[in-house]
Amino acid sequence: MSRENIPEGALRARDKLIAQFFNHPDVEMIDVGYNLNSPGTSQIVLRVHTRLTDHSKLRLPSAVDGFPVAVITADYR
């Protein structure tokens, strides 16, 4: 993949997601990046990192301000 800049508006959308979901006990991280669920693509999405394997429990929106929301399963230490 080549280096890319963040699309305009992505950080604002990320902040909205942070305001709503960052304090959820099962949310580990929220960032902007590639959709790892679609490897090989360069689609830039909002990403919520969680240790939960059943992502439906988070009840995340599918998109914020037009930026798709993807979920990454991880337990950072």
Binding site: M29, I30, D31, V32, G33, R47, A74
Partner: protein, 333 residues
């Protein structure tokens, strides 16, 4: 309870009733009262009798000792110090004496001495810790105070400080305590940190006569710093996994990491995944490593956390780290 047949390690474990276990534990407590402070005794537990290398299904109180007296040595002990003999009669339960020498495993035998030994000159990628915590992280690199020009070590807050109650000017040791370091190996004293700004980073003033150079072990000098960007290939030199690489897949992240039982928010986070060649990205002990752009040798991030399976690493944008700490990377010349 007593049977004569032995069971192999792979066979199902024998079952003991709750009453049997309670009786065994009470007997263990008696054994501890009599023998735990005997210098020859390392461990007292409840378990299967070990006979000729086989695990039997007899429940016993087991005393694990450095040296099991046998023959004349046992006879001599019985005469000279009968109170030290661990017997079924005294404990009121079957007893097994297991000879063993348990040691804390400070070092991983697969780790290179070039990273976990006493390193001179000091450089990025080697083992380090504060003087209190039994762990080891990575000396990220050498920086200088932007105001005074004093040389400093830069690594994570959770490596150099680790606690809200850490004393001021706590000593930093190289190698880290997990790798056998002690205050005799002190190389720096804690100066400041910025965890309250959401950045897991700290610096310590060098106090050692050992030289310190701008070099990442097995990678070379760092020539500057830059913000991480999506798609950037990165590499790092760390205490545990040595030189590894990955690709930046996320930026502008905010996360919360559990330190000492409390969730601490960390900002300016970039996410790294395995590159096309795969392989390990990071592991415990790599905390504090500097992620570097291999094309420019610019430091782009300070490693602080990771995930196994899948392999991910997290770093904090290096320009943000340097700005918050008011330090700059040392000129390699």
């Amino acid at each position: 309870m007593k049977k004569t047949e032995s069971i192999s390690v792979t066979s199902p474990v024998a079952f003991f009733s709750a009453a049997e276990m309670r009786e065994a534990v009470r007997a263990r407590n008696r054994a501890m009262a009599f023998h735990f402070y005997d210098p020859n005794v390392k461990l007292i537990d409840v378990g299967f009798r070990l006979k000729d290398g086989d695990i039997t299904d007899e429940l016993t109180v087991r005393a694990h000792v450095f040296k099991k007296p046998r023959g004349e040595a046992f006879e001599s002990l019985s005469r000279s110090a009968p109170q030290r003999v661990i017997s079924e009669t005294r404990i009121g339960f079957p007893v097994d004496i297991v000879e063993s020498n348990y040691r804390q495993e400070f070092t991983n035998p697969t780790l290179s001495l070039s990273r976990i030994g006493v390193i001179n000159p000091l450089c990025g990628g080697v083992s380090i810790s504060n003087e209190r915590d039994y762990n080891s992280g990575t000396l990220g690199g050498i920086v200088e105070d932007a105001d005074t020009g004093n040389l400093m070590i830069l690594s994570n807050w959770h490596v150099l400080v680790g606690s809200a109650y850490a004393p001021k000017q706590m000593r930093i040791v190289q190698p880290g305590r997990l790798d056998g370091g002690s205050i005799l190996n002190a190389v720096a004293v804690l100066n400041r940190h910025v965890i309250d700004q959401g950045i897991d980073a700290a610096v310590a003033d060098l106090t050692t006569e050992r030289k310190a150079i701008n070099k990442q072990l097995d990678l070379g000098p760092v020539l500057g710093s830059d913000a991480p960007s999506l798609g950037l290939n990165v590499t790092k030199s760390g205490r545990t996994t040595s030189v590894t690489s990955g690709v930046v897949t996320g930026v502008e992240g905010i996360t919360k990491i559990m330190y000492g039982g409390f969730p601490i928010p960390v900002k300016y986070v970039a996410h790294i995944a395995q590159g096309p060649s795969g392989g390990e990205v990071s592991a415990g002990g790599d905390s504090g490593s500097w992620w570097v752009d291999p094309d420019t040798n610019f430091a782009v991030g300070l490693h602080f956390a990771g995930n196994d399976d899948p392999e991910y690493a997290l770093m904090i944008s290096m320009p943000k780290v340097l700005e918050a700490l008011n330090v700059r990377i040392v000129d390699p010349r």
